[in-house]
Amino acid sequence: MDTLASLLHTSPALAWMVVKIVIVFSAVMLLASVWTWVERRGSAMIQDRIGPNRAALFGRIRIIGLAQLLADGIKFFFKEDLEPTDVNRGLFWLAPFLAFVPAMLGFAVIPFGRDFVSGGTIYHLSVLDPGNGMGMLYPMAIGGLAVYGVLVAAWSSNNKWSILGGMRASAAMVSYEIGMSLAVVSIFMTTGGYDPAEIISAQGSLPWHWNVVPQFLGFIVFFTCMFAETNRLPFDFAEGESEIVAGFNTEYGSMKFSLLALAEYAHLMTASALVVTLFFGGWQVPFVAHPSVGLSILSFVVKLLFFAWVFVWIRWTLPRFRYDQMMRLGWKAMLPMSMVNLVVHAWLMSHGR
């Protein structure tokens, strides 16, 4: 790291920061785009179909359809960037970025491996070092921003379907945020801190000490709310082919659409990273008390991919909710459940457990 820094005439801290940012964000971008393919292949397999498998590099190397990503990218890139006449131009351009950036930013505090010491300096494997004072509040806040992407896209399109979709999605996001936050609060309480590094180290390496076991209710609430937050089925109220066409992205095409679509998958990655960090011990390797750095990263990535797959899996298992059903679930089931979870854990803690 020091040699790299001296080559670039910067301080080692800055070089390390840049390296981390590049690695984390390119990995999330890559995973997000790969997940568009996983989603399609996975759904196809679940429905006894085959899915995209014909795109090939140079018309020959098929690599089980992974070239579809490139094909899609090229296609989106060269499509005409159509802009309907009555849109609010500035917001119309801004919306994809508003959707995409928060989805990526949430990843910044997640530790994706254990810290290591090299040359007397401690290197933390998360973009923002622990002890930055924001901790887990930061992804929650950023996640709250994601609603702007959807809402601005919907509003600026000047399309009734888009607005309906945007309204529903923002209502869903806002109402599920409360239950989610309460579920997280009870984790903060039992951990005694809200820094992701603390939360992870408090969970230890034994799977039955991970937060998912004592706080199973909290996990259910949090995970369900994540579906509403990422706007994915069964709660995809921003879209809805059967009622409001494509919802908030009806008017979008070419790269702008692809950015909106990628934002959904980036959001999915961030959401599963949050689930892993909060409930499944982050980078902790089961039964290995002091894993090596590589092993801890591997463990984190495996868990991350598993939960990202669960998002896809559930999407193709459950039918959509109706709007009122979803609202009822959010306010009358998720919120009380997370409150009960909070109160029970507070009571347990006050009795010295």
Binding site: I46, D48, I50, I314
Partner: protein
């Protein structure tokens, strides 16, 4: 008379919603695994240009005009098929030919032009039903497509050779016997 709506009573386990979701996920995962480990050739999807569907017997596809061993067309230009055709897409022009030694002085008929407009044909098989000589068959070729309308007008020789390759027969482009000049009745 009212209809009694039977309400399904869910057990408490089903009402938690979590358990049924897990059950559903089990089902989808079973399908996923099953499909993942099924070789491509055994999947439900037929990957069309690489794999072709084997058509069942009795499928009505592209027509074939049957021929005798010597290559003579079986059709006797009786116009039954053209009459029966609901799409009116068969047009026939007859001609006479004969080996008068065999036919004892009578003229024999065969189509000089036998045209089917494949764009209008509805593949109903009525021509096959109507033919008294079993000369026209609908077989199993379903890839009837072309780049322009004219190539979809199948003529006599196209129709006689449609299945030549599949059946291992030679392609023929002319009748074994020349047509007889039309005789003018001398009055």
């Amino acid at each position: 008379m009212g209809v009694v709506v039977k309400k399904v009573e869910l057990s408490w386990l089903d009402r938690t919603y979590v358990w049924p979701v897990l059950k559903g996920m089990g089902i989808t995962f079973k399908h996923f695994i099953k499909q993942l480990f099924t070789p491509t050739s055994k999947r439900y999807t037929i990957q069309y240009p690489d794999m072709k569907k084997v058509m069942p017997a009795g499928y009505r596809g592209l027509h074939e005009l049957k021929r005798f061993e010597d290559g003579a067309i079986k059709c006797v230009a009786c116009f039954m098929c053209a009459e029966a055709c609901p799409a009116r897409c068969i047009s026939i022009e007859a001609e006479e030919f004969s080996d008068l030694n065999i036919t004892q002085g009578f003229e024999e008929k065969r189509p000089q032009v036998f045209k089917i407009d494949m764009l209008r044909c509805i593949y109903c098989g009525m021509c096959e039903e109507a033919c008294p000589k079993d000369a026209i068959w609908l077989r199993n070729d379903y890839e009837v497509a072309a780049y322009d309308r004219l190539s979809m007008q199948f003529g006599k020789w196209d129709l006689m050779n449609t299945y030549a390759e599949a059946d291992g027969k030679a392609r023929i482009t002319e009748d074994p016997m020349p047509s007889a000049p039309r005789r003018v009745l001398a009055m």
